[in-house]
């Protein structure tokens, strides 16, 4: 399970893109055989991983020559690599791109094998749910195989009818669209009828309408029929049988296999030559390679912008580490008196002079002043450290806070994140830088600013309470 598939398979090129992932042509290094690798990025996929796993488990239990063979699955980084049989002849949709439409005998040959595949699937209680030319693959030796079980669902005994909406509108049976009664394997028979028309005419019915309109049109309209002398009578009958409005009236795959339309004996030679010619045409037009939806970049990973966090799991216990009292402080009640000691907005220097900072743009000097207390001014003037330090707030704020870093820069960091516009972020950044520049000139500025904001907030809250 933990084998690196890159060592086992050499990716050649992307040959298909789907909602669930990209399909690559690759070489099995051990056997030198060509395989198809379906890569599903589980980080990008909307699909539930459980459901994908169920699909893979079911796929691994299918064995039929009319169904693309599943080989194995590997995990590479955050992707699943599902290794499947490679069909070098492309799909029937490729044939239509090259030839526009196909001869009735060829269509009968293809449809017969598709029915054999469907008969097997239905015997395994599986509905394919997305039968169309693009999902019918061909090998270079003219074998026909049903592919793409990405959205197929299993019918179980308890839940006989599915209530989910999958498939491609043009090929959808009316009951799949209306979903009034759920549906069963007969939905595939309808899609097969539409596919028959597609192979004969080059497009399914209503293909000139936008897909959404189709969803209304199919349930309301009479089932499509082939009209005109250019079509063989048995072909018209076959399509009519498949496209019965009532699912119960549609024959089973097993019954349909006996239909006269399918009794042609042309062998696989005509199909092989069509495939050969088509492959050359595709090479000439360079249609072979697609651009993957999720490029494979093994080394990069997909989400490398997510740097892992370096958690601190050291064994020191927190009680041995200093804890900022400010957080504890919030829970303590403060006496009115302490709040009253709130100094003026101007920062009082040790000499009792109001420093110039009070009129600096950093302080909102036009705010209403409250309870200027000469007593606190005296108190503060007695403390002596730097010019700006130590207002009365130091009573409850621990002294060893690194104010520029822990408070001011932290706050600006937060505001930076809150800012939505680039310009705002720039403004926040610049403002922070200015404050730092002034902090260098006047150490303690940040501390003073922090204290004042803290005290002011406290006071406002207290006032609210009163």
């Amino acid at each position: 399970m933990n084998v690196d598939p890159v060592e086992l398979f050499e990716i050649d090129k992307c040959i298909g893109r789907g909602n669930f992932g990209d399909v690559y042509k690759a070489v099995d290094r051990a056997s030198s055989t060509i395989v198809a690798v379906k890569v599903i990025n589980l980080e990008e996929s909307e699909e539930d991983v459980d459901i994908l796993i169920q699909e893979i488990l079911f796929l691994s239990q299918l064995r039929s020559p009319y169904i693309t063979t599943y080989y194995s699955t590997y995990i590479k980084d955050v992707s699943l690599w599902i290794i499947m049989e490679y069909c070098g002849g492309g799909s029937c949709a490729d044939l239509l791109r090259c030839y526009k439409c196909l001869h009735e005998d060829i269509v009968a040959f293809i449809i017969r094998d598709v029915l054999r595949g469907l008969d097997y699937l239905h015997s395994q209680r599986k509905i394919h749910r997305d039968i169309k030319a693009a999902n019918i693959l061909l090998t270079n030796s003219g074998q026909v195989k049903i592919a793409d079980f990405g959205v197929s669902g299993q019918i179980t005994n308890t839940q006989l009818k599915k209530h989910t909406f999958v498939g491609t509108p043009f090929w959808m049976a009316p009951e799949v669209i209306t979903r009034k009664t759920g549906y069963n394997e007969k939905a595939d028979i309808w899609s097969l009828g539409i596919t028959t028309i597609e192979l004969i005419n080059g497009t399914p019915p209503y293909s000139e309408y936008p897909p959404m309109e189709i969803l209304f049109k199919i349930p309301k309209s009479a089932p499509p029929i082939l009209v005109g002398s250019e079509y063989n009578e048995v072909l018209k009958k076959f399509v009519k049988e498949c496209l019965r409005r009532n699912p119960a009236d549609r024959p089973s795959a097993k019954t349909l296999l006996q239909h006269e339309f399918l009794s042609v004996e042309i062998g696989n030679m005509p199909l092989i030559s069509l495939i050969k010619h088509k492959n050359k045409w595709i090479m000439r037009n360079k249609f072979g390679t697609r651009k993957p939806r999720f490029p494979l970049n093994y080394n990069e990973g997909i989400m490398n912008n997510n740097t892992p966090v370096d958690w601190n799991f050291s064994t020191t216990r927190t009680k041995d580490l200093p804890i900022a009292q400010s957080t504890i402080l919030e829970n303590k009640k403060k006496s009115k008196n302490e709040i009253g000691e709130c100094p003026e907005f101007g920062i009082v220097s040790r000499t009792g002079k109001v420093s110039a900072i009070s009129s600096s743009p950093l302080v909102c000097s036009d705010s209403p002043r409250e309870n200027p207390s000469p007593k606190s001014t005296e108190n503060i003037s007695e403390e002596n450290s730097s010019d700006l330090k130590s207002s009365s707030a130091s009573i409850y704020l621990p002294k060893d806070i690194n104010y520029p870093n822990d408070i001011i820069s932290y706050a600006f960091g937060k505001i930076f994140y809150r800012a939505k516009k680039k310009e705002t972020k720039q403004a926040v950044y610049n403002l922070r830088k200015i404050i730092y520049d002034f902090e260098r000139q006047q150490p303690g500025l940040c501390e003073a600013l922090s204290e004042e904001i803290f005290l002011r907030m406290k006071a406002s809250k207290e006032r609210e309470l009163r």
């Binding site: 955050v78 601190n312 804890i323 730097s386």
Partner: protein
């Protein structure tokens, strides 16, 4: 197949007897192909009796005859023990026989459930299924059908072999490992009461094994295992598991490491467990230590944490806000930095990068 049936009309009981005869020969025969062919033929005849075909509708009295003969012999055991000797399609016929019989009800009774509990060697053989990589998907599906019945689950949860499923889920091919995990997950989620009893006796062992899967598994195993863990912890009846899990700092470390995994989906699965550590009103000291020491990192991390999943977006955001609030309320450590010189700390990386980009643009 129907014409064979008509030309050689065996009663259902006879069919089971000849089937048993052939299956016992499988392990010791000179002509394996012939025995396999005979076995396959009988098994598909049995499938027709059970499910009918184009021409035949299943007859209840025939099914009940068949069931009686199966119960009175070692038929199920022989078939399961010899599964690897059967042809690919016959294995599916065995599975059809098994599950069809299992679903039979007579009044309130499930005769097959009684039969399985009276002959534990069948269940044991199924439990050992993952040892055979060729047939383990078939036995896995049969075992999960059994798990739907509470009496069987109770029996299985007492069986030491189930601990092997943690290893099976890590090893072998992708299909086999994921299949074993589905079985494990069914065992622990389907019957809440039986599972709660199981946890009461096996808490430590379970936590050890599930952590091991989360720690050492590949991307898919990890994702599945954390999801299972959060599902189990959130299950009301598994209260003891919740208590035990959120009490250990080892578990918190594991989940925090996963929280910082490069995969968004793993982060989200890990968050679903992490939030339970946070919501626990009685956090132990060691848990608090880790949270406090990583307070700022956690807040920065969570502020940038988002989901692309559109469903449950609102619930996710509410939970995230709650978790952030709880962490912000934790005591904050001071980075000891007593010197008065001002070093301009960097804004968080993300912010700085943007700043640089802006400067470049200008």
């Amino acid at each position: 197949m129907a014409f064979l049936f008509k030309r050689n009309p065996k009663t259902p009981s006879e069919l089971v007897r000849v089937l048993n005869d052939q299956v016992t020969k499988l392990d010791n025969t000179n002509d394996l192909k012939k025995v396999q062919d005979d076995t396959s033929r009988y098994l598909s005849q049995i499938t027709v009796i059970l499910h009918g075909d184009e021409e035949n509708v299943p007859q209840p009295d025939q099914i009940s005859q068949l069931a009686q003969e199966v119960y009175s012999t070692d038929c199920l055991y022989l078939l399961i023990a010899n599964l690897h000797n059967l042809e690919f399609n016959s294995r599916k016929d065995v599975s059809i026989l098994f599950t069809t019989l299992l679903r039979r009800e007579i009044g309130n009774r499930n005769p097959t459930v009684d039969h399985l509990l009276s002959k534990p060697k069948i269940l044991i053989t199924l439990l050992r299924g993952p040892e055979n990589s060729e047939t383990c998907l078939i036995t896995g599906a049969m075992l999960r059908d059994c798990i739907k019945y509470e009496a069987i689950t109770k029996y299985l949860l007492k069986e030491p072999l189930i601990w092997q499923y943690f290893n099976y889920s890590k090893n072998g091919t992708f299909e086999n490992a994921t299949d074993a995990f589905i079985t494990l997950s069914d065992l622990l989620t389907v019957h809440k009461k039986a599972v709660a009893e199981f946890f009461n006796k096996n808490l430590e062992k379970f936590i050890f094994h599930i952590n091991n899967l989360i720690n050492l598994g590949n991307y898919v195993t990890k994702r599945q295992a954390v999801k299972l863990l959060s599902q189990l912890i959130m299950q009301r009846s598994n209260y003891h598991l919740l208590q035990a899990y959120v009490d250990s700092p080892q578990n918190l470390k594991l989940i925090m490491i996963l929280l910082s995994d490069k995969s968004k989906n793993l982060q989200i699965e890990a968050f679903n467990v992490f939030k339970i550590f946070i919501a626990n009103p009685k956090k132990s000291k060691p848990i608090l230590d880790i949270l406090i020491k990583n307070r700022d990192k956690l807040i920065t991390y969570l502020r940038n944490f988002s989901t692309d999943r559109k469903e449950n977006m609102r619930e996710f955001n509410d939970e995230k806000e709650f978790v952030i609030q709880q962490i912000e309320d934790l005591p904050r450590l001071i980075v000891s930095n007593s010197n008065s010189s001002v070093d301009i700390p960097n804004l968080p990386n993300h912010a700085r990068q943007q700043q640089q980009q802006q400067q470049q643009q200008q």
